[in-house]
Symmetry: C2
Subunit: 388 residues, 2 copies
């Protein structure tokens, strides 16, 4: 731990909350960071200053903590001309050695100040710029520089940095309550889950094992769970499964064939609601996107959600497949999702795309939907993570 | 109209639909394009070839048609070596004159082929590359060129282009059914509306006039309507308003003060559902985003949606404020949304953030919510677009 090399951590929307909410969010963000990173943490004027035990590990961990908008490795010094000049020159020397600063390329210094000083931000930027020119002779270009040095003066401490590394953004996980996330092995549902974690929600993942209509292997969903877990610092990410094959068989045997997918999705919501009660969750999240596949028409969305009394949140509802895949690639779930699997053999050749609510309710009654979903729910179990 | 200068229009997800659905979507996309662009349209092998009367206007219009993924102004010729060589050289000469091709910068030719020819795609790319070198002497760089020339050989026709202009993406508007869009003058709801149009939905916009708790001016919502209308080619984008002030007064007078926002949002959904019945709409869309403001906590989302039996789609539910603002800027609603307005003076100083469903239902009963929302709905009217 180097007391002169804090990482400055920026968080965004917390800033606009009321002081009370803000305090609660900041405390949660810091406690989430602490679950991953050992070291000292100081909160000051809307910034977190992190002095990690293991610097490189901390930089990697910060990229996956919900609520962190960006962060910068810094070098700090006392706020006085001599030490600032010396520190700026050492900072640049070090970058030249690493090949990250070239005396032939242009640079600019940007300065921000908090507190009262006998210089303006502009004067300090000029002073630091001169120190760099003294050392390197590199050309200054304020409008379109190749390299930017940031000088942040905070009262009697001054911080130098040149990198602003993107975090996940959003809100600290654990500040918004728990959701039941319907997660399959596909591309969409892991992305939907991630987006809601990013908005501060704890998740309980619910997976439906459609065996014998699928291979019954839980390998993909376990891999997705483990990938999502990387973004869940400070939250208890849970993973449950129910056996859904018998229910699907009943749908296929006793309901009109084209209605299998509608009944399947409808059942998922009803079972998720049961789990929500047990988990004190307040809503369901799924990967629905209007018009993407046959089951995701507006009439089907209406009919499948009708019997569910808690909200179904569908963060992908307005996104294109390409946009969803892009997020999946960024967070690392996409490569797992595209691993080959058997697909679901329960789906009929011509699934209903224009479900009529009254008809669906009638069929649900005929197949004893409430009783059947209760039966499915009684098969709820955790997936053994080690056996996969 | 130049028969040798078609614009190639690409559409995306339609490609993955069943042949029947695909045909329906293609027909709708073409008819949507025709509402904005005069000229000839040819559909061939998953591409639309557009021969517009007014070329420049057509390029602008295509940027705002839902379902168009990208498009390219092209020059076409017969598929034979002599005419391809001559056309390539004319094409490059023209670009040099316009300053869009420099003989000092590197280039590459990419070729795609549909049909049977006595050359491979690679051979044709090489042939065209040699024609450019003959003319200009410019250096070829296949891995990282400054300029790319695309050659698309389709049977006996060959098309040249160098630009791929982004469209809106998504699905043709009018293929998914109608939604009721709750639109205020804020940043979020116009973006949410846009995303659902992009996914192929027709919209009926519903605005709540909170006068006397706001100025009562409809100027902003009319401007937002007109901006959204630019993306609605082929759809009848409707705009309605209800008078909400009396209802808000009743809430303030007769319900616990901190519950005003919860009752307000809850009432909006109930009234939107009434309008949905009249408009044959299948769901509601709004700009909710978890945790963004006091009213958007999970307990409040649950309580406000409980009495609504059609789905509420919230495409922004998993996005950060910055991400939402970015989309708003791209589509041009953001600048309207940030115009100063009076805000809503009905909001209490400490709004409920942890609504308890049972309590909310109790209060709704006490203030005769069902009767009151019926009263509000009877004030439904169109906003006079010219008077604003």
């Amino acid at each position: 731990m180097d007391k002169n090399k804090p990482i400055i951590v920026r968080y965004g929307e917390i800033g606009v909350k009321s002081p009370k909410v803000r305090k609660r969010f900041e405390r949660k963000l810091i406690s989430n960071i602490k679950t991953l990173i050992d070291g000292k943490i100081v909160l000051e004027q809307g910034r977190i200053f992190l002095f990690p035990e293991n610097y490189e590990e901390a930089l990697e961990s910060l990229k996956k903590i919900c609520g962190v908008v960006s962060f910068s490795p810094t070098v700090s010094t006392e706020t006085n001309y001599d030490s600032i000049k010396a520190t700026v020159q050492d900072y640049i020397k070090d970058l030249i050695e690493k090949g990250q600063f070239s005396i032939e390329k242009s640079f600019a210094v940007k300065c921000r100040r908090v507190g009262t000083h006998d210089f303006s931000s502009r004067e300090m930027a000029g002073f630091c710029g001169a120190a760099v020119v003294d050392l390197t002779g590199a050309p200054v270009d304020l409008s379109n520089p190749d390299f930017r040095l940031f000088v942040e003066v905070r009262d009697d401490k001054t911080y130098l940095y040149h990198e602003k590394i993107d975090g996940v953004g959003g809100l600290p996980i654990g500040t918004q309550g728990r959701l039941i996330a319907l997660v399959s092995g596909g591309i969409d549902s892991p992305v939907a889950s991630y987006l809601m974690m990013k908005r501060g929600c704890d998740l309980t993942i619910l997976n439906f094992n459609n065996c014998p209509y699928t291979s019954g292997s839980s390998e993909k969903v376990v891999k997705i769970y483990e990938k999502l877990k990387e973004y869940s610092a400070g939250s208890d990410l849970r993973l449950y499964q129910v056996n859904y094959g018998d229910f699907l068989k009943k749908c296929k045997d006793e309901a009109p064939e084209r209605m299998t997918c509608v009944l399947c999705k409808s059942g998922m919501y009803q079972i998720a609601e049961k789990l929500a009660k047990r988990e004190n969750a307040l809503a369901i999240v799924d990967g629905s996107s209007v018009g993407q596949v046959a089951s995701q028409t507006l009439p089907n969305i209406l009919a499948t959600r009708y019997s569910t009394s808690i909200p179904v949140l569908s963060p992908l509802i307005g996104l294109d497949k390409l946009e969803i895949a892009e997020i999946g690639k960024k967070i690392g779930t996409y490569d797992i999702s595209i691993l080959p699997d058997s697909g679901c053999k329960a789906a009929p050749k011509h699934p209903e795309t224009n479900a009529v609510l009254e008809k669906v309710l009638e069929v649900k009654k005929a197949i004893n939907m409430d009783e059947e979903t209760e039966k499915v729910f009684s098969s709820l179990h955790e997936i053994d993570l080690d056996s996969e």
